[in-house]
Subunit: 196 residues, 2 copies
C-alpha cells in the first residue's frame, strides 16, 4: 500500500468505528475532524462531501466484513461445515467487531427509507452479502449435506433473522444468553435443512 | 380527553411519524416545529427538552403498539390461535404502521449504545413487549397447543428474529416476498412448538 492509501484507510477505519457509535447519518467531515484531530480541510482532500465519506465508510466496512467473515468461511470445506463457519464468523463479527455494533444493521435502520447514494451502496452491500450466503448454502445442497429440495432463500431469510435477533438481544437487551439462543436457533435451522 | 391532552396526543402522533422517518435521535423541538408549523416556544410548553420529547414519543408509540397489536391479539382465544393473532397483528404493524417503519426497530439501532433516559425507556418498552410475547406463548403451553417442555424464551427469540428479518427484507430490500418468507418461517416455528 502506498502511504496515501494507508493514511486514507486508517482514517476510514476511525470513521467506521465512529459511525458504528453515532450512526452513519451522524458521520460528517466535522464530527470526523473532531474525533481524529485532523483538519477539516485535510479531510476534504480525501472526501469530497459527507455523502462521499459515508459511501466510502460502507465500502471499507464491506472490506472488513469480507476479511473477518467471508474469507475465513471460504477456507473451510464446502457443505455444512462451511455453513457453520459462516454462522460462527458472523457471530464473532457482531460480538467483537465495532464498538457500536454491526455498522450494516445500524445503517439499514437509518437509510432504508432515505433515497440516495448511501442507500444505493448499502443495498449493493446487503445484496452481495445475501448472495454470498445463498452460494454457501447452495453448496451444502450440492454436497448433499442439505436436502435437495431445500428452499435456500428461505434458509437465508431465517439465518438473517437469527443474526438480527442476536444483535438485538446482545446489544439492546444485553442478554447474557443471546449467543446461546442464537446457537439453538441455528441448530434447529440446520436440522430442518438436512435430508429427510 | 381534555382539549389539552388531545392537542398533546396529536402533536405526539406527528412527532412519532416524523421520528419513524428521521430517526428518534433526529427528532428535536426544532425539526418538530418545522414539520408541524407550531412555534418552538409553544412546543416547549408541552416538552421540556429534546430528550423529554423523545421519551414521550416512545410512550406514545407504546400506546399505539398496544392498541394495534396487543389489544386485538388478547381478544382472540388463548393458545395457538392467540399466538397466530400476535404474529398477524405484528406483521400489519410493520406493514401499515408508520411511514418510516417500526419506530422501535429503528430506535434500538440508534440508542442501543447511548446511555440515558431514552435508552432506559426503550429498554422498558422492549422488556414489556418481550414479556407480553412470553405470556401469550406460555398460555399456548398451558392450553396444550404447544409442548409442555417448550422453551418459551427461545420461541420468543426466534419470533423476534422473524419479525426483524421481515422488517429488513420489506423495508431495506423491498423484497416482494418478505411477508410470505416470514409466514413460512413462522409456520416452521409453530410446527416445532407443537406436542411431539
Amino acid at each position: 500500500m502506498s502511504k496515501g492509501v494507508e493514511t486514507r484507510t486508517a482514517i476510514l477505519d476511525e470513521a467506521t468505528e465512529l459511525a458504528s457509535r453515532v450512526g452513519l447519518g451522524g458521520l460528517t467531515i466535522g464530527t470526523l475532524a473532531t474525533q481524529t484531530g485532523l483538519s477539516k480541510s485535510g479531510l476534504f482532500g480525501h472526501f469530497a462531501s459527507k455523502e462521499a465519506l459515508q459511501v466510502d465508510v460502507l465500502l471499507r466496512a464491506r472490506e472488513r466484513f469480507v476479511d473477518a467473515v467471508l474469507r475465513p468461511t471460504l477456507s473451510v470445506p464446502r457443505g455444512e461445515p462451511r455453513v457453520r463457519a459462516l454462522f460462527e464468523h458472523w457471530l464473532s463479527w457482531q460480538r467483537n467487531g465495532l464498538s457500536g455494533g454491526c455498522l450494516f444493521v445500524n445503517a439499514v435502520s437509518e437509510f432504508d427509507d432515505q433515497e440516495g447514494p448511501v442507500r444505493d451502496e448499502l443495498l449493493r452491500a446487503e445484496r452481495d452479502k445475501a448472495e454470498s450466503v445463498l452460494t454457501i448454502v447452495t453448496a451444502a445442497v450440492t454436497e448433499r449435506d442439505f436436502a435437495g429440495d431445500l428452499d435456500v432463500e428461505q434458509f437465508g431469510f431465517e439465518l438473517e433473522g437469527i443474526m438480527l435477533a442476536h444483535h438485538h438481544n446482545s446489544r439492546m437487551m444485553r442478554a447474557p444468553d443471546a449467543e446461546s439462543r442464537a446457537r439453538t436457533a441455528f441448530e434447529r435451522l440446520v436440522e430442518s435443512a438436512r435430508p429427510h
